[in-house]
Symmetry: C2
Subunit: 461 residues, 2 copies
């Protein structure tokens, strides 16, 4: 299944007639499009195209289908499970030049964007409206890519993930038809939920060209705090008790001592190198003070030290930039390393136990393994740092990943909270959902009968 | 397509061997299961079965499939678009005796229930936990039925609909396999979103036997208010401006003067018979006061009279019971009438305009037409009261419904915010989503190749 199919070069001639110099087979560009942020081996496509419109994507799909050439939609290449690797060759459809914000409906609190718009670009564009787009994976990913991986980030505990945020999609189907999955109403019971089916489909069911997303009002008051704890468990329990008390906390990120050390080194900061929560409160002036007081009390009872506050916008920005760079800061703990990133998510009642057990794996490991994550959602990551040339490192890392996934599954959790399946987690998907995966194969066959959309990802046929 | 298929009576023998006296062909029971709350003609099934377990549902599915007999899952029969009418005959699968709450995870704030548990039953069961289940359609529907119609209600503006609330489902597939669509983690990127595909599937893709739902903490303070307005537009604008200001309002229901009159008559109350908002605020003591002050100010600017407060639990309960009974209270405005209920939902920026235009239709109509709805979501209903024996009434009502749907579609809205497609809205679904409906047909064929699950609903093959 994974062997590249024969690439029919007449397809190039047709693509060039359509797109001119927006088709390339340059080795450098192909290589750039054949790797993501994962540990998986590079797999460059045969060609890369840069469409400017939904109609061009449709024409690309029609050409590729006639020649039976795989198509791999591409955002900025920051996926973590090999989603965009061209393991069967084919044409990479780089959506980066479809980067127009098409409409911002301030009264409705939504925006319609082309798939290549990035999250920071959108937030910059709407800054004057008093609204913001909350989903923030570490990278400045495109909204198309974030839709395709069902991404989330630090704000999900309050504002949801891409699952809750995408309202409607424009999609090019395998037969070249263009559909809109839903109207712009806030809710609907009109038939099967096609929108949610494409959210998380990883480019395997169609090519997403436009995304309609919910926006949220910027709250009157926002403040962030850093709080160190004597134990990881105390930090996790603080978040669990906060949620149970009904405090609408906006962000609640846990970082282990190793991660704090990596951040200090990377950002030249001097935070305590202890298990730490980064918290953020959104609301009215009075509401934020009230929330913060409640959480401080809960933290104290769980071994938390004093809160260090970041209330000015620039202090908050600096804090969250540091958090968003945690993955890259961790990579620098070991020169020349790459990372296998775990992504389990468990019911929060099991979170402290899951993290404590996992910490024992980390202590036994031969490599540094920072741990951090979105504990309000029950989701945390290990960044297992490996020497990419070392088979031993790779084996050890895979064994740790497997142990963590099995632990999470035993606790009614999932193998992936936000990174997706790609190539790397297909075996775990089967273990997690059993016969339900057959239904996913049925959907794939039904939507893409010739298996040309990102073949070999999510489920194999 | 709609003619009942030949009913093979050997299927009865097999069902009786499985279920004993939990199979019936009694005329009274069949008739009761062959009507819902819609205006559509009765269509009783050939038999009704009452399973007690997922395994029994599986066995029923296997028997019916072998005999090519349609199966119609049934909750309490309160759907509004003919969802449960046995238009091709077959076996009605009444889930009402699968009414066990299987687990309540207080720390995780979720519950696992059998499909026949009703929303009030669940809330009664969890009352001691400090948690509640927010989705509240007018009727005391089952969670299985609410899942199948993607129901919502008065709390959706803050807590979401069944789309956001269902975490995982146990489903019996057409080939008799039993799947679980997701783990119990709060979020996941593990493959295609099967959960969301069954939410809103109206019994056409499989039989839902268990539902895992999110619960929410009961807030420290809750208060409700009634506010009359000089115009419907002022009331709608108040809600729009409230949402834009970021106030996390819990409920915001609009009722027209006719609806208020119906409620007064039905409940022996003396509310002003003017366009009215019912509002509810949830939060901390201080937060609720702050929210209420902001909304009072907004209401005043839009022609709102004084707020009448309901802060005691029993006063609030009475107020919301009155709202939930609005549909039934309206039916009593005209003796012996049935209702065609519209259910459009538009982007909130268009809501005031949509309601004002629709009010002109109402003024021209020959029958009373109360208007009320969930204006925070852009969703409102007309209850068009018809004499079921009058062809003229029926024609007029259908014409009004069509006008309202076309108006909503022209405003980027949907023909159904929460009632679903059933039989009654299939033509509108096609108009609303065009070629996307073909994908729904593909999904139906793929999941139910013999078209035995609630055939003729959502999409026809």
């Amino acid at each position: 299944m994974n062997k590249p199919r024969e690439f029919d070069h007449t397809v190039l001639t047709e693509l060039q007639a359509l797109l001119g110099d927006r088709v390339t087979t340059s080795a450098g560009i192909r290589e750039h499009h054949g790797k993501d942020e994962s540990y998986l081996p590079y797999a460059p496509p045969d060609a890369v195209v840069f469409p400017l419109s939904t109609e061009e994507v449709r024409d690309i799909v029609n050409i590729c289908r006639r020649h039976q050439v795989p198509m791999i939609p591409y955002g900025v290449g920051t996926s973590l499970e090999g989603h965009i690797l061209a393991i069967q060759g084919g044409v990479c459809v780089d959506m980066g030049r479809m980067n127009q914000v098409l409409a911002v409906h301030e009264e409705d609190m939504d925006a319609v964007v082309q798939a290549g718009v990035t999250r920071k670009q959108l937030n910059e564009f709407i800054k004057h409206t008093g609204l913001f787009f909350p989903i923030d994976p570490g990278a400045d990913a495109t909204l198309g890519g974030m839709t395709a991986t069902r991404a989330s980030g630090t704000n999900a505990v309050r504002y949801g993930t891409m699952r809750e945020t995408v309202m409607s999609l424009k999609v090019v189907l395998a037969d070249g038809r263009i559909i809109q999955t839903a109207r712009r109403a806030k809710k609907s019971s009109a038939g099967y939920d096609l929108t949610r089916l494409f959210v998380g489909s990883e480019g395997t069911l169609g090519i997403i060209t436009e995304v309609t997303v919910k926006l949220h009002p910027v709250q009157a008051a926002m403040s962030a705090a850093v709080c160190a704890f004597s134990s990881v468990k105390g930090a996790a329990d603080t978040v669990i008790q906060t949620l149970q008390s009904g405090v609408p906390i906006a962000r609640s990120e846990l970082l282990c001592a190793t991660t704090m050390a990596a951040l200090n080194r990377h950002n030249k900061t001097s935070h305590r190198e202890m298990p730490t929560l980064l918290l953020e409160f959104h609301g009215t002036e009075a509401g934020v003070i009230e929330q913060a007081e409640m959480v401080q009390e809960i933290a104290r009872e769980n071994g938390g030290l004093d809160f260090q506050w970041a209330t000015k916008p620039e202090e908050r920005t600096k804090l969250w930039e540091a958090r968003h760079n945690a993955y890259f800061a961790c990579l620098q703990l070991k020169a020349g390393s790459r990372a296998i990133s775990t992504d389990v998510c468990v019911p929060i009642s099991r979170l402290a136990e899951c993290i404590v057990e996992t910490t024992k794996d980390i202590e036994k490991a031969s490599m540094p393994i920072p741990l951090f994550g979105h504990v309000g959602d029950g989701n945390f990551h290990l960044v297992i740092l490996i020497d990419p040339a070392s088979r031993k490192d790779m084996e050890e890392a895979k064994a740790i990943n497997l142990r963590v996934v099995k632990r999470a599954l035993a606790m009614e959790g999932t193998c992936t909270g936000e990174h997706g399946i790609g190539i790397g987690k297909q075996a775990y998907l089967q273990e997690e959902l059993g016969d339900a995966v057959d239904l996913m194969r049925d959907i794939k066959r039904s939507f893409d009968p010739e298996n040309l959309f990102n073949p070999g990802k999510v489920v194999r046929l």
